[in-house]
């Protein structure tokens, strides 16, 4: 309790409060731009945190993340184009509301739901992380190897496209992660005679390249960044407090959506893009008037926006305890943690407890900050965004990515690696290999390698050292989960096919 009080007090410093507000505003800007994701917001704004102390850097990025997910709702409501994939379902109800002249009402609903979701995510993180971090002590090298494999299969099966393509991207990422000095053995691999590669591929450089450049190339190809906006001048009078009352009058919907958001958030690789659709579907299924969904129903908007903001803090549960990012933006947060010498696990909650709890609570404050920022600055932000032509946006983001990659180690080679990886990522995306599994493979690769090699070393007394990987009951559970997650896309496809056949038989 004393730790909490101390942590909370340090967050009340004016500089931290300013950081939270500016982080939410910056995230809101990027998130509201169609095509720019929360991951991109974090990757582009990351260099500004390099010179900050760990807590301040993490507070700023947490606020950017929260603001970006919320910002996605602006574009979804006003131009029917989700600013981020986390706001797809928001567009289903928000845009029809805007067309009816209820845009401000929809923005109020999104703001309140996002704030509630954000706070709920922080509470989940505070409750779930410490026990899971304690459980992680029981994990040996073999368990960490299987956790990495589980993360990879989950990411591959949940990411866009086919499982095989996801696995292919993940394994490529894992191989890219082995470039440079071996963590055990100490010799260099895959340097291709280039001394600069001895240090390996810097994770943040790869993140910026693989997440930002494909989107930039895409914007250049399409020749646009935003679509036609709807007019919001003909507003029907609606007060913020009346909307707050209406949102709070649906506690069942809010609680259900927050729980769905948290469950999805804990699964590595899922995140807000899946949570908002699942929560929206559930809200529709349990509604007394499901036929009205799609015409501007507040329940759907509440479900989408509360669930996607739960995932911001919620997806940090596997990240802070096991080092596995729950969603792609968390990979950037992991990069910052490692940059400051902080390793996920129980130590984050004990030795670095003040920092970790400070970061977690600051995300709750960022969720609260979304209300004034969104309500007061919303219209202004919106106008700036839609007046910025795409041909200025692409070079501006390019400049930020070049500066960000350079600032990390003051190395032009890092910038070149970023551009090469980003270009390869764009080309691979054309054949269905998405950047997210590659990046997550890169992160999980080092966890898997250390677990794999240490297990083999511990199993040298066995006739087959690899058997050490299959020895413990905890490993058996993780292997079963890995196999299940790998087989899940095929099982669900088979189930759908069988269901379809039964339905067609019944009809005939």
């Amino acid at each position: 309790m004393e730790l909490f009080q101390e942590t909370f007090l340090q967050l009340l410093h004016p500089y931290i409060i300013i950081l939270i507000f500016s982080g939410v505003t910056a995230g809101l800007f990027v998130g509201a731009m169609p095509g720019l994701t929360a991951t991109m917001a974090l990757a582009v704004l990351l260099p500004f945190t390099f010179t900050m102390p760990p807590l301040e850097g993490l507070v700023a990025l947490g606020a950017v993340y929260m603001g970006a997910i919320y910002g996605g709702s602006f574009a979804a409501i006003l131009v029917n184009t989700p600013g981020t994939p986390s706001s797809i379902a928001t567009a289903f109800e928000g845009y029809p509301m805007a067309k009816e002249g209820r845009a401000i009402e929809a923005i109020y609903v999104a703001t309140i739901s996002s704030a509630i979701g954000g706070i709920a995510g922080v509470l989940f993180l505070l409750l779930l992380s410490p026990p899971l971090a304690r459980l992680s002590i029981k994990f040996g090298p073999a368990e960490f190897f299987w956790v990495a494999m589980l993360g990879l299969t989950l990411i591959a099966s949940l990411s866009e496209g086919s499982l095989l393509k996801g696995l292919l991207g993940g394994s490529l990422g894992m191989i890219l992660g082995t470039i440079g000095v071996a963590p055990i053995g100490g010799e260099t691999r895959f340097t291709f005679g280039l001394p600069v590669l001895q240090g390996g591929v810097e994770m943040i450089v790869a993140l910026i390249g693989l997440f930002v450049l494909p989107e930039l190339y895409n914007m250049a190809t399409q020749g646009k960044a935003a679509l036609q906006e709807v007019s919001i001048s003909s507003e029907r009078g609606v007060s913020f407090f009346s909307v707050l009352k209406r949102v709070l009058s649906m506690p069942g919907n809010l609680i259900r959506s927050c729980i769905i958001g948290e469950i999805v958030a804990i699964i590595p690789g899922a995140g807000g893009n899946i949570a908002n659709l699942v929560a929206y579907n559930e809200a529709k299924r349990t509604s007394r008037h499901p036929e009205k969904f799609g015409t501007g129903v507040i329940e759907g908007l509440v479900a989408s926006e509360s669930s996607n903001n739960v995932t911001v803090a919620g997806s940090m549960v596997p990240l802070l305890t096991l080092g596995i990012p729950g969603a792609p933006p968390d990979a950037v947060i992991l990069g910052v943690l490692l940059l400051h010498g902080l390793r996920p696990g129980i130590e984050l909650f004990t030795t670095s407890g003040k920092l970790t709890y400070g970061f977690i609570i600051s995300m709750g404050l960022a969720a609260i900050a979304m209300v004034p920022v969104g309500l007061m600055g919303g219209r202004l932000i919106y106008r700036v965004i839609f007046k910025t032509p795409y041909y200025f946006l692409v070079p501006t983001i390019s400049l930020a990515t070049i500066l960000g990659s350079f600032a990390l180690r003051n190395s032009i080679t890092d910038v070149l690696i970023m551009i090469i990886l980003g270009t390869i990522g764009y080309l691979l995306k054309q054949v269905g290999i998405a950047p997210a599994p590659i990046v997550l493979g890169l992160i999980l690769g080092s966890i898997a390698e250390i677990g794999f090699v240490q297990s083999l070393l511990r199993g040298t007394a066995y006739p087959y050292p690899i058997l050490k990987l299959f020895e413990n009951p905890l490993s058996h559970i993780l292997i079963a989960m890995t196999l299940f997650s790998g087989a899940w896309p095929y099982i669900s496809a088979l189930y759908k096919r069988l269901k379809g056949r039964i339905k067609s038989k019944e009809e005939s």
């Binding site: 190339y217 895409n218 041909y391 390019s398 500066l403």
Partner: protein, 151 residues
Amino acid sequence: MTKGTNTNLIAGLIGLALSAGFWFSLEEISRMSIIFPKAMIIIMAFISVCQIISGFISPERVRLFGEGDHLRAFVTGITLFAWVIAVSWVGFYVSSVIAFSFLVYYLALARRSVTLAQLASWVVIIAVEVGVFYLIFSRLLYVPLPKGWLI
């Protein structure tokens, strides 16, 4: 006949080529340093073969580089490479203003015609924008941006 490229087959072939590339660049080093990369290459090659097989059994056909003008993406990529290489020679500020201005002009042509007066006003805006970034990074964040021949 179905239009589009068999992306399963292409992805599998790319995976196999990458596996071969990494496999042949392996050097003779200690077992503990090489065992994991070797295992991953074998796994990637196996996934690639499965992908190729799925390309024959149930091909997923997609029009590669379908929507939009991909020449713009190509030119953007080349400009980015040239920009980064020029940074070390010419200096960060000057090379950034030139590359930024070129990109704005080139990408704007996709949407509108650009007069010389407009271009001149854009260059002024760009010089200020790059200047702000330059000052933030060099003076506030103490990043030693490359100076080159100029600044």
